[in-house]
């Protein structure tokens, strides 16, 4: 079988030339040469493509396409990339190249990473990643990569764990003999006795994001509102899904002093939407923000509201929406944002968007009633809302008092932007 080996400057023999552009070497180098020798007759590495880790990080998609084009010019049966061991940059480069090869050309590609490589979670779902164990394991990991890649190229099924691959991190149902209640009692008794037991659902690691720099002068800042509560103009013109949304709606509030009942509807399956439908300011507090704008307490309210429906929205989709919203807010000159959340999984989606905004340097206050969820996912600035169903309102209060309460809450939330 014909194979191409992709590796970085270090294993390609270029020392620490991290910025080097892609280069082609004849045949296999380094660990791939060793693998070729061991698997004699099974594989021929026709070329090695070497590229600096930083070059790929700096040129992103362009560099990936450049590398992939070079690889494809050799018409390989399969590709191995890495190992990336513990480097997140190398992991991202290898993961991205394997994914692109698979998606663009249908060519099997395998990489290897250590368990703690930050890129693992990004690529395990859609690519084959060998479990490596640090620098001393490079040769052996390269062997395992090659073996798995050969099997894939032959169209065989790969038993992930048995062959040293990370699971795809996906789940499926299997039929069992002991129902869940029996297993949970067994697990509880084992825990009581101090015996070993294995949880069936592992606790997730959501990761953290550095706190974006605070706003120095709120009176000059442009503030945007984002929500996962599914508020959309009547007719839902952007067609956002009421659950597991893949997109968001953008609507203008220019020239409006408040959000009027009847102009909006709520596409959201996770909470009782009647209270927000009756008064949309309970979710998007335009009335309060406008007053604060007129009083000079904030610079201006950004003219567009970003709204999605966060109930059972996957993290991947939430992250992607967050990245796009962050880019659009950045282009619009937004300095800071308020993100208002509703129910549980929706707050998870909201917090994930908050993190992307903060990552892009837009300080964002997460206004939510389920502050525990926001904390656990990793929102940096959290302001506790009144309830899932009326985050910035209070059913039962006279409208004017409710508005005064909302204004005070929004001011409280804005104050967090200065911290």
């Amino acid at each position: 079988m014909r194979a191409v080996y992709f590796t970085n400057q270090y294993y390609g023999g270029f020392g620490n030339k991290m910025n080097m552009a892609p280069r082609i070497l004849e045949g296999a180098v380094g660990p791939a040469a060793a693998a070729e020798k061991m698997l004699v007759g099974q594989v021929t590495f026709v070329a090695t493509v070497v590229c600096g880790d930083n070059y790929i990080m700096e040129h992103r998609d362009d560099a990936v396409f450049e590398v992939v084009d070079l690889i494809l010019s050799f018409a390989p049966d399969f590709v191995i990339a890495g190992p990336a061991i513990s480097s997140a940059n190398a992991g991202t480069a290898c993961g991205e190249i394997c994914l692109t090869l698979k998606e663009r050309a249908g060519i099997p590609a395998v990489t290897a990473m250590d368990e703690h490589n930050l890129a693992l979670e990004l690529y395990r779902m859609n690519t084959y990643i060998i479990r490596s164990e640090g620098a001393w394991d490079v040769e052996s990991a390269t062997m395992r990569m090659t073996r798995v890649a050969i099997r894939l190229a032959r169209g065989e099924t790969v038993e992930l764990e048995a062959e040293g691959c990370f699971s795809h991190g996906l789940k499926r149902n299997v039929t069992v003999e002991e129902k869940a209640p029996e297993r949970v009692v067994n697990m509880l008794l084992a825990k009581l006795r101090g015996d070993a037991f294995e949880t069936e659902v592992k606790l997730p690691d959501f990761g953290t994001v550095k706190r974006a720099a605070p706003i120095k002068e709120l009176g000059k800042a442009t503030i945007a509102v984002v929500t996962d509560g599914g508020l959309v103009p009547v007719g839902n013109p952007d067609g956002i899904e009421a659950s597991a949304a893949t997109k968001y709606s953008v609507f203008s509030i220019e020239g409006k002093d408040f959000l009027e009942e009847g102009d909006f509807e709520v596409a959201h399956m996770g909470y009782d939407v009647s209270y927000v439908t009756n008064d949309p300011n309970r979710l998007v507090p335009l009335d309060a923000l406008r007053e604060l704008e007129n009083a000079g307490k904030i610079g201006r309210v950004f003219e567009n509201v970003y709204s999605t429906s966060g109930v059972i929205t996957p993290l991947v989709a939430s992250r992607r929406m967050g990245e796009h919203i962050a880019a659009e807010l950045g282009e619009g000159g937004v300095d800071a944002a308020l993100l208002v959340s509703t129910c549980g999984s929706s707050t998870r989606c909201g917090a994930t968007i908050v993190k992307e905004l903060e990552r892009a340097g837009i300080p964002t206050v997460h206004i939510c009633s389920l502050s525990r969820v926001a904390q656990m996912i990793g929102s940096n600035r959290i302001y506790e809302a009144n309830s899932i169903t009326w985050p910035l309102g209070m059913e039962g209060l006279p409208r004017e008092s409710e508005k005064a309460l909302r204004k005070a809450m929004v001011e409280g939330a804005l104050a967090l932007l200065a911290q």
Binding site: H168, L170, K191, V201, K202, P204, L370, R372, I388
Partner: protein, 441 residues
């Protein structure tokens, strides 16, 4: 019958014990259900007088009420399913069954119940709802629902126009519970195929070697904060409820009834509550490898502070009222009740009460394993999964009972489609009534 005999002796001996509720459940196996001229059971064949029963179940809020049968193995899809009920009647007839919801208010869980197995009453919900579910009587859906294997009496009650959702729900619930009681009533004089006795008292709290058995309490978290999503406890919804100590027999005997119609798949059916898998498992092991201390019914309010308050009170009850060494915690509803679960777990562990959690993984469809939980507190180190939300391909069927269209499915219900398995009523049971568990791939 020998087991029953032994148990009866034990309970007699401990008549003056501290926990006095004694529930005897006589079950008659039904092998077939047919429509006929009157309603009776003979040799395991249940005959139902369709017209007569329709009249008994009719209500002024219904424009019409019809009954249909769906049998296991049939190419039939029951569509727009609301609740499912196990035929069950208390000694006083239907007027004393499901107290507070159907029958008059009285203590549930003491005395004799007669139940039918192999048959279920299935309601369809004939008003709009955010999501709806279905049951397939054959094909791949069978793997996901216990109700594919029961003879189902389907109640299709069309509402009069302009009816309030809550009024329709109440009348529909009464109709289906009444049907369940009437069907079970046919068997009160039959020789039972199975007899179970449920009594907490009179059971040793040490094992064969004289070692103290761990006291286990079950913290049963029900959904609340959304109209038509909360169960009914003795006829009232659970919204304003504080954590409430209850006897497990009350749950088995119809004190708690499902009332979830907005997002049907978020809560187990009354059928599963009547045969509560966690309570039955704890009973099965009561006096053997654990001591079943009791049940705490706990709701899930929407505000953070309230959640904290409920978790704290429930944990204190587990510790100080039930003197529990350990607790099993389950939930109903969608995402945010996970937080209640996590907080209750934390509060219990803080009190020295060890915990294990059981849930289903449906916060995402076919997603990655990091998507199934919204909490991550380290005390939650023992979690069991009763299934994962995966996409399933469903074939066309010959006959549809109920709605031809439901939300989430873009084709008429007699056609083939693929959808999340949670839309199958009875799948992803949060009370653990399932042979499925998740596995990583």
């Amino acid at each position: 019958m020998t087991t029953e005999f032994k148990l009866c002796i034990i309970t007699k001996k401990y008549k003056n014990g501290a926990v006095l509720l004694k529930l005897r459940v006589d079950t008659i196996h039904v092998k077939q259900v047919i429509f006929g001229d009157s309603t009776y059971i003979k040799n395991g064949v249940l005959t139902i007088d369709r017209k007569g029963l329709c009249q008994l179940l009719m209500s002024p809020v219904f424009e019409s009420l019809d009954l249909e049968l769906a049998s296991p193995g049939e190419s039939c899809r029951i569509s727009g399913v609301g609740d499912v009920i196990r035929p069950m009647v208390a000694s006083g007839g239907w007027e004393a069954s499901f107290p507070g919801t159907l029958g008059r208010l009285c203590q549930a869980g003491d005395g004799r119940l007669v139940e039918l197995s192999g048959v279920a009453v299935v309601e369809t919900w004939e008003l709009p709802a955010m999501s709806k579910t279905f049951i397939d009587m054959s094909g791949p859906g069978v793997k996901y629902s216990p109700f594919s294997q029961t003879y189902n009496l389907v109640i299709i009650a069309k509402p009069v126009s302009g009816v309030e959702r809550t009024s329709y729900a109440r009348e529909l619930k009464k109709a289906s519970l009444k049907a369940a009681a009437i069907l079970a009533q046919t068997a009160v004089n039959e020789e039972p195929d199975e007899c179970e006795l449920f009594c907490l008292g009179g059971v040793s709290d040490v094992d064969a070697e004289g070692k103290k058995l761990p006291r286990v309490v079950y913290i049963y978290q029900v959904f609340s904060h959304q109209t038509l999503a909360e169960p009914l406890f003795y006829g009232d919804n659970c919204r304003g409820m504080l954590p409430t100590p209850v006897h497990p027999n009350e749950i088995l005997a119809g004190a708690l009834v499902n009332n979830c119609y907005e997002q049907v798949h978020n809560a187990d059916t009354t059928y599963v509550i009547q045969t509560h898998p966690v309570i039955k498992e704890l009973y099965r092991r009561h006096g053997k490898d654990l001591y079943f201390a009791g049940v705490i019914l706990k709701n899930t309010p929407s505000a953070q502070k309230e959640k904290e308050r409920m978790a704290m009170i429930a944990a204190a009850q587990a510790k100080n009222l039930f003197h529990a060494d350990a607790a099993i915690i389950t939930k109903e509803g969608g995402g945010h009740p996970q937080i209640d679960m996590a907080m209750t777990c934390q509060a219990c562990e803080k009190q020295g009460v060890k915990t294990a959690l059981m849930l289903t993984e449906f916060l995402v469809n076919d997603g990655s394993r990091e998507e199934v939980l919204i909490f991550s507190n380290p005390e939650a180190d023992a979690i069991v999964s009763a299934g994962y939300c995966e996409t399933v391909e469903f074939p066309p069927v010959d006959r549809v009972c109920g709605s031809m269209f439901i939300p989430d499915i873009s084709v008429p219900m007699n056609e083939g489609f693929s959808c999340m398995c949670k839309l199958v009523r009875g799948s992803l049971s949060q009370l653990g009534d399932s042979w499925l568990r998740s596995k990583e791939r």
